[in-house]
């Protein structure tokens, strides 16, 4: 079998916070970057649960939309609406 890439592929790190973290059996996990193109794809690979409405997302510590593209080694996080201050 011929490798699709010359370099080593890095998995995408996935994190959940607050109420989402409590609902997940694996609040910190990884997904194969070959299998996903967008943030929404990452959710689908990370958990069988449907993405709840109003979930916020980030990629590499910056706010992102579910449609945003993801790359090797990215850190993707999902969390409920922010309630600080």
């Amino acid at each position: 079998m011929v490798s699709r890439t010359l370099g080593t592929r890095m998995p995408i790190k996935v994190k959940f916070f607050a109420s989402l973290r409590e609902q997940m059996s694996n609040p910190a996990t990884e997904v194969d970057s070959n299998a996903v193109k967008t943030v929404a794809d990452v959710w689908e690979k990370a958990t069988p649960k449907p993405m709840p409405p109003h979930v916020l997302c980030s990629v590499n510590l910056e706010h992102a939309e579910p449609s945003q593209a993801v790359n090797d080694g990215d850190e993707v996080a999902f969390f409920p609406p922010i309630t600080g201050g």
Binding site: A18, S58, F79, I82, T83, G84
Partner: protein, 144 residues
Amino acid sequence: MPIAIEPQSFNPSEAQAQFEASLVKGSYGASANFIGTMRDFNEGDDVVAMELEHYPGMTEKELHAIINDAKSRWDIIDALIVHRVGKIDTGEPIVLTVVCSAHRAAAFDACRFLMEALKSRAPFWKKETLSDGSQRWVEKNTPG
């Protein structure tokens, strides 16, 4: 552009004094601050304690970005944001924002901006403990 995530209770007056001492004396004529304190009620229920979670790395990055945005919008000397995380008891300070500027308008306006931006952009989440011992995540911020 100082920011601080505080896992322990902090004294807002001391934090502000320390921040202002780091600025050049005479460089600002106005200081505005906002202190958010933990209430013992929310949504009609008695609240006895709260746990504040954050996203280490992203929260700090977002707080710095908020201060940068304030600096680009108003003529301010500098700003401070201190925010608690962890277990908080009623009456304890949760957040402090301070803005120093030459004149009061920029200080007032930028200080309000810091708070409103923080509440919508900086990843913090509150979990309340009610007087009956039950816990619940706060689902939305109260309107200003």
